[in-house]
Amino acid sequence: MSSRDLILARVRRAIADVPRDDTPYDQAFERGYLREHGDRSVEQTVDLLAENLADYRARVHRCDADGLAETIARLLAERGSTSVVTPTGLDPEWLAAADVTRVPDRLDSTPAELDRVDSVVTACAVAIAETGTIVLDGGPDQGRRRITLVPDHHICVVRVPGQVVSSVPQGLERLDPARPLTWISGPSATSDIELDRVEGVHGPRTLEVVLVSGE
C-alpha cells in the first residue's frame, strides 16, 4: 500500500464517527464576523491606511497624479539612490523626473546583481486599511517577487481610493489565488530578541508608500 493510501485509510478510520450526511461546507459554519470594522467614509479609509502603515514604520507620502514623478524623484534623491529596479510594466512617467539608472527586471539577472541595486519602485494590487497592508500580485507594474525583496529600499505606489479596501475579507475578494501574492505590512521586522521590535532584517529595511490620488 502506498503511503498516500495508507494515510487516507487512516484518516477515514479516524473519522468513522462522522455521519455520512454531515453538514456540507457551505452550511457548516456561520460567518458571524464583520466584513469590515467600523463605518468609514472613503476618505477616512484612506486616512486609516496611512495611519496604520505609519504605525508599523512605513514612510507614507501623499501626492496627486501630476506630482507623482516628482515625489518619486525626491524620495530617491533623499535616499541617495543611483540605481532603481523597475518592473516591466511600470508606467515610465513615474520615473521621468528621477536621475537614476534604471535596471529592468530581467529573467536572467542573478540575485547577486539585484543585491547591488539601491531601490525598487512598484505599483500594488490592493491595499488594506485596517491592517496597514499592501498586497503585490506580480502584475506587470509590480514585477516578480524577488525585486521587492532583495533591494533595501522599496517605493510602492498605491492609487487612492481605487486600490484601497477596508478589511482583510474585502482584500481577499479582490485577489486571484492563482497568482503569487506578497502581503506587506511595514518594512521587514523582527521581535526575536527580548521581543524588542527591530525594523529591518532580510527584506527592505525602508518601505515608502506613496498614496497617489486623482489617477
Partner: protein
Amino acid sequence: MSGGTFVGMPSFPKAAHEAVNNKTLRGNLRHATHTIRAKRANAVAEVSDWAELREAGKQIKDHTLRHLDRYLVQLEESVTAAGGTVHWAADADEANRIVTYLVKATGESEVVKVKSMATQEIGLNEALEAEGINAYETDLAELIVQLGKDRPSHILVPAIHRNRGEIRDIFAREMSEWGRPAPEGLTDTPAELAEAARVHLREKFLRAKVGVSGANFMVAETGTLVVVESEGNGRMCLTLPETLISVVGIEKIVPAWQDLEVFLQTLPRSSTAERMNPYTSTWTGTTDEDGPQTFHLVLIDNGRTDTLADEVGRQALRCIRCSACLNVCPVYERAGGHAYGSVYPGPIGAILSPQLRGTQSEIDASLPYASSLCGACYDVCPVAIDIPEVLVHLRERVVEGGVVTRDGAKVVLKPAKGHAAERAAMRAARWAFGHPGALRTGQRFASRTRRFHPRTLPGPGKAWSETRALPTVPAEPFRDWWQRTHGGKDASK
C-alpha cells in the same frame, strides 16, 4: 518525533526542576511572556468581532478535520494542476527520506530553511546532515538556536530563553564556523544583532538553489500555500531558490480561499500581537518566471491520524501554532519550553505531543500533568481548543489505560507506571463508598486518632505532602454530626 534531541527526556517535573531554579532563564521568560501577553490583549481588543472570528475559525477547522480525506485529495489535485508535486509521508523517517532524496536529486548539498515546526518535529536538519547536506535556519531566533547548538523553547520565539547578552556572545563565537563572521566589536543592541544576522545570511540566500519551508495554511480549493512571517527570510527561501520543498502536516488545510479571511485576522493578533505580520507569501504551484520552478509538497501524518481518531483529543489539530497559550501559561512561564521535551512546548505541547507520540514514554506520560488547569490557555486560543478538557482526558488515559489508536491500529494501553498509589487509593475509595458501615467505622477511627496524624504522608505520598498542607480531620465525622443534630435543626432551637 524530533530526531535525537528529545529522546530519553526525563519526566516534566524532573526536566522543569533545573529551569525553575535558573534565575536568568526565569527573568528572560517572565519579561518576554508578560510583554507579549499585554500586547496581544490590546491587539485583540481592537477588533470588536473577536468572539465571532474565533468561533468561525474553530468551526472551519473542525469541519475540515471531519472531512479531511476529501480535502486532502482535493488539495493534491489542485497542487498538481498548478505544477507542483505532492508526496505523502506516514512518519518522520519517511518524510526525511523523501526530502533528502529530493535535495540530492538537485545535486545540491545545502538548503536554506524558513522556520517550520513540522521539519523540527521530524528532525529534518539532523537527517539531512547525516546525508551530508547542510540545512541553514534563517529565522533570526532559529539562527540563534542553531548557532548556540541549542533547542527551540517557544513556538513563535524559539530563542525566548536567551537575552541580548547571550545572543551577542553566541554570534561573536559561532558565526565564523558557519559562514560570514560577526562584525568586530558587535554590541548587544537588538538592531546590531539583527544587522549581523542579515549580513551573515544574505550570502546564503543569494546562492541558495534549494529552499525548505513549512506552511501556515494550505487551501484545498486552489492548492495555495501560505507562509506568514516578519523578517523576510521566508520570502527569501520561498522566492530565490530554483527548487522549493514544503513539508506540511496534513491538518493544515482550510477548504477555501475565503477561509483565510478568518485566520489572517486571528493568527497575527494572537501570535505577535500585530494587526498584520510584516510579510505573508502565498503561492499556488509554480508560476512562470517568478519564484521556484520546481515545487514539492510533502504531506506528513506522523501521528496526526492517530490524534484525529480520538474524539476528545482531535481538537488539538485545530491549532494554528500562534503560541498565545504559551505566553499566558503560569507553568510555561516558570518551567520554560525545554522542560516539555518536545518541539511543541507549553499548553498546546502538553496535549499535542502525547497524542502525536503516544503516552508510553516517561516525558509523554507526565505532560498532561504539566498544568494547573487554570484555563487561561483556552481563553486566549484563537481556535478555541479546550486544552484543559484534553489534559484531563489524557490524564485519564495515562492512569487508566484503555483503547487508543497508534500507527493507525487500535491498541489497548496498560495504565502507566508510577500511578500505582493513585490507582490503589481510588480503588480503596470506591470500595469504602460502597460499604457505608466500613466508611463510618473508618471515619470515627480517623476522628479519634486525629491528634496522632502525621503532618506529611509516608511512602509515595511524601513528595506530594511536602508542598501541600494535609487536610485536618474534624473531631466528629459529618455523618455523626448530622445524625446528632438532624442537620443543624437542633442547633437553631
